[in-house]
Structures are given as C-alpha cells and as structure tokens.
C-alpha cells in the first residue's frame, strides 16, 4: 500500500514537472517566432554555439544590472533587458548562463557566445577579447544627502572632507590616488558593501559618497528625496559593453547594429530610466 502511494505521488510529481516544462517551452517558441518575423539584421555568417540561440554569460547577482527575480530562477535587470533585446533584434532566442565573476571571460566561446555583465572596456581586456560599442557610460560621481549645503563641484572640493567608497572599486582607487599623491587631503572610509556607504551618508558619519554614476542613479531613483548627485566626472568615463571572442567579429558587427537601433529608437534610455530612475548619458 505504501509503495503504491509513493508511486502515485511520484507519478503525479513527474506529470506536474513535465506539464510545467512543456508550458515554458511553448512560450519561448512563441516568442522566437514573433522575433523572427521582425528580424531585419543579417546574421547568416554569425557562428553561434547553438543555432537560433544567443547564449549570454553573466554574473547574476549584481543589481540592478543583473539579478534573479524573487522566484530565484528568472534573471532580470538592465543587462538582462539589453541582451534580451539584442537577441530579439537578431531574431534569436536568448539563454543566460549564470557564472562567477572570477573566470567569466575564460568561458567565452566555450560556455557562451558573449558576456553581458556590467563589463567595463579596458585596454588589458581588449588584448584578449573584443567589445561591442558601449551601451552605457559610467562615471565617478559625488553623492551628497539631499539637504546638504556643502559646496562641492568637483573632486578637489572634497579637500578636508570625509567620504565613503566601496572597497577595491574604481571609486576607491581614484580617491586613494587623489589622497596618496597629495592632491587633496581627504579621509576615505572604505566599505565592503556599497549600501554601507549610503547608510553612513544618511547617518551623518561621512560627508559624501563617491561611487559609480550608475549605482548613484539607482540609489537616487529609489530614494529621490534623500540623495543628490553634485558632480559626475565625465572626463574619465567607464564604458560598459558586451564582450565576445577575439575572432567573432561577425557577432560583434551584428550586436553593434542591434545596439545602434536600440539607441536610435530610445530603447536603451527608457530601459535605463526603468532600472536606474535617472537619465542615461
């Protein structure tokens, strides 16, 4: 009797699982057919790991760029939207591969076609891989509490102030440089988490936070009454782009075409506004 019951239950479970999978499959197929009809970009000479699918590597766990939704399985975020839209415009389905940041680039061409994971274009990286045109610019920004009356117009105005940065980020390196070269005298408080920086700002432990403009936009988008950006260092921009294998120039060209279209019809700006609440540059 027991065995029979177990059999019944496991059978029901299997059926349920199959039904679930089936439904999902159906939905994706519907999406791709719709995409195919719209496809205008020629991808005939692009080599993909799986035909008809753009496989994207991403370290899913860096909101608002990429993160899992509350169900713990559905990826969501700014990068996710960008990559999905790129794939749609290329007439492809998209498949995200969650991977650790360490060694994320080693997986290109073996585990995924490209990486879309808030990757900054750097000269070192350009030696081993190629990048699409940048889809977002990131600057170092100074954030103050909304009610602050400090007169800060650029980094030199931080002289004698106490600031918070996230440890080992560009902000940390930049401000440490300002301090170690003696350009300005500034107390730099380094934190493991960027949220700690903003809490310190709110509590009045520090005068300002220096942080990526994207992150700043995200925080101000959520708390528009609490913080304000007083300076963005546009002279030293970091550009985020999709990265792919050195020989995959065909994919690079196709993605660039898709990104150009997304830029032209305002998709990137509206997506940025959606995720960051601020305005894209």
């Amino acid at each position: 009797m027991k065995k029979f019951l177990i059999g019944l239950v496991s059978g029901a479970l299997c059926l349920g699982l199959m039904a679930g999978c089936g439904a999902k499959e159906e939905k994706s197929t519907a999406d791709s057919t719709e995409a195919a009809t719209e496809a205008a970009i020629d991808i005939s000479n692009v080599k993909l790991m799986n035909d008809g699918v753009l496989t994207v590597g991403s370290e899913i766990g860096y909101p608002p760029f990429e993160d899992f939704a509350e169900d713990g399985t559905t990826p969501e975020g700014f990068d996710i939207d960008i990559a999905t839209e790129v794939a749609r415009r290329l007439g492809l389905k998209v498949n995200f591969v969650n991977t650790a940041w360490d060694g994320i680039f080693a997986g290109i061409d073996t585990n995924y076609d490209c990486v879309c994971s808030a990757v900054t274009i750097t000269p070192e990286r350009q030696e081993t891989m190629i990048f699409s045109s940048p889809y977002i610019n990131n600057y170092q920004a100074i954030v103050l509490p909304a009610g602050s009356d400090l007169d800060i117009k650029d980094f030199n105005d931080l002289d004698g102030k106490t600031i918070a940065v996230q440890k080992e980020t560009t902000s940390d390196i930049l401000m440490s440089d300002y301090k170690s070269t003696g350009t300005i005298k500034v107390e730099i408080v380094a934190n493991e988490k960027v949220t700690s920086c903003f809490t310190q700002l709110t509590n009045g432990e520090v005068d300002a936070v220096v942080v990526d403009s994207t992150v700043a936009d995200g925080y101000i988008g959520k708390n528009p009454d609490d913080y304000k950006i007083v300076y963005e260092d546009t002279s030293e921009a970091e550009q985020f782009a999709l990265a792919m294998g050195k020989n995959n120039t065909a994919l690079q060209a196709a993605i660039n075409e898709a990104l150009a279209g997304m830029e032209a019809d305002g998709f990137i700006k509206s997506t940025y506004d959606f995720w960051f609440g601020g305005s894209a540059e």
């Binding site: 004698g160 300002y178 070269t181 003696g182 408080v189 380094a190 493991e192 700690s196 509590n203 520090v206």
Partner: protein, 346 residues
Amino acid sequence: MKILKKVVNVKGWQKATKRNIVILVLVIIAAAVLSVMKPEKEAMLSCTSEEVQNMIAQDENSSRKRVTITYNSLVVINYCSVSSSGAREISERFIGFFGKTYPANEGAAKVIGQMVNYTYRMLGCGENVMHGAKLTILLTALTILIGVVLGIFLALGKISKKKLLSKLCSGYIFFFRGTPLLIQLFVIYFSVPSMLGFAWRDLFSAGDNQAVYKGAFVAALIAFALNSGAYCAEIVRAAIQSIDKGQYEASKALGMSYGQTMSKVIIPQSIRRMIPPVCNEFIMVLKDASLVFAISLMDITTISKNIMTSEGSYLVFIPALIIYLVITACFTYVFDKIEKKFSVYE
C-alpha cells in the same frame, strides 16, 4: 618611590633575568644607533632617476597630482617609493639602512622593501589613530577589560536570588551569545544612530578629520564589549560556582554581607580560575576584530587582505603572522603574570 622599588626589585631578579635585561638594553642601543643612521626622505628621493625627478617637479604646480611618494620609516630600516598613476605606470623603490640607500626594484632588496612597507602599513603607522595593529590591540584590550567587569556583574546578577534581576541577566546573556557579533555591530553602528538621530562621528569635535574612525571605534567597542560581557559572564559564573560552599558559610558566620562575601572572598578566588578561559576569549576577540571592517575600520587581517588583492603578493601574510604572534605573546605574558599573582596561595 616605594612602589617603584617594589616593581623594579633588582635584588630579587634571577640571573637569567639580568642577562635578558642586558641583552634588551644592548638591542635598544643598537636600534637607536641604526635609526639615527637611517637616510632621510630627501636623501632617498635624490637617488631617483631623472625622469621621476621631472615628474615630481611637474606635479608641484599641478592641481591634479599624479605622483605618489611613499616613505615608511620602521625603526632601523626605511622604505621609500615613487610611483605614478595612470596607464604608463612608473615606480622606483628604495630601502635605506645604515646610512645608505639601496635600490629595491628587484631581488632580495625588493622583498625586504615589501616587507618593510607591509609591516609599516599593518602596524598602522602614519595612518589614523584607529588603524591596523593599533586598532587591534586597543580594541582587544579594552574589550576584554570591559567585558570581564561587565561579565562579573552579569554573572552576579544571573546567580542572584532576585528573580527579576536573574531573568534580566540571563536574557542579556542569551541574546548576546545567541546572535552574531557582526549583526550586533551593524545594529549599534548603523541602526541605533539612525533610530535615535545622532551620528557616532558627532561624539568628537567637528574639526577632527579622524572623527569618523574614532566614532566607528566607539561603536565597535560598545558592540564588542557588550558581546564579550555575555561570554565572560558565563566564564565568571562557572568560576564563582566552583568555589567551595564552605567559603560562603565561613563569611556568613563572620557576619559578612553577600556583597562583602563576593567582593572580598569569592571573586578574588575565582579570578585565578577565570584566567585560562578569559585568555581563550581574548584570542576570539583578537580574531573577531577583523569584523570591524564592516564599519570601515581596518584591522591587521583586513589590511593584509587588501594588500594581497591589490598587489597580489602573498608575502604579506608573513609580517601579519609575526605581528599577531607578538600581540598574542604580550597578552599571554600579562595573563600569566595576573594568574601568578592570584595563585601565590596555592
């Protein structure tokens, strides 16, 4: 003067102690001589190449300086490096010892230079008051000190016959032992001020640019002491309860009150039994001190990790280990002395 004579009881010294003192004095004299012989910062900078000299000169008038000059003076040896930031990074390193400057860009000299630099940074020299070894030592020592005192009161409360007091103390101990120190630290540093509307930094004068670290240290000390108090309370309770019942009876028969019995008879006897577990607690606090990084303070562990990630050098752990061992040795020595002092009667 009498006290001094008592402390520095020269006649009472053993032969070995006398020999050690002589060695120590000689080492101090040698170190003093060597430290005077060290080349100055300017002398070391004059050894740099023309290119670097030009860069330094250029920087003088620029509003965005690009050259970092590091100068670490560590007792008998010093380290100096000049490096530029940006894509074309240039760096020149030197060590100074016994009146001479040696280039330290490669080989053994480079390793020595790195060691000096790492040790200097981990000791927290030239940094704010709450940095590196200074922070670790100060935090650990004060935590244990306050923790033991707090622990004694909590333990007395817990074994008290007053039900409410006993429940309160038990609750306190349960709470602080049952929740992670890191979260207690977060609550005290982040949540409490935002709820009560003050900033830890405001405890110090507005003009003090290190107020942020001092404020964070105060918060860390409060969290650590409250937490350690709970652990020490259990240590103290066990020690008190291990004292023979006859001691209570004798005290009572002599007309001593509960408070007098505790303070004059029971606690002095239990201190000796507390020392070994308190020594363990001290080691725990020493390790836990790295948690203060969560509130922007850097202890030895955090600094060594930082150096490791930014420079990719695993050498950093050697000076880190040595610094920790020296700290532990010093504290163990103090604990041993206390234990000896309290066990003369055994």
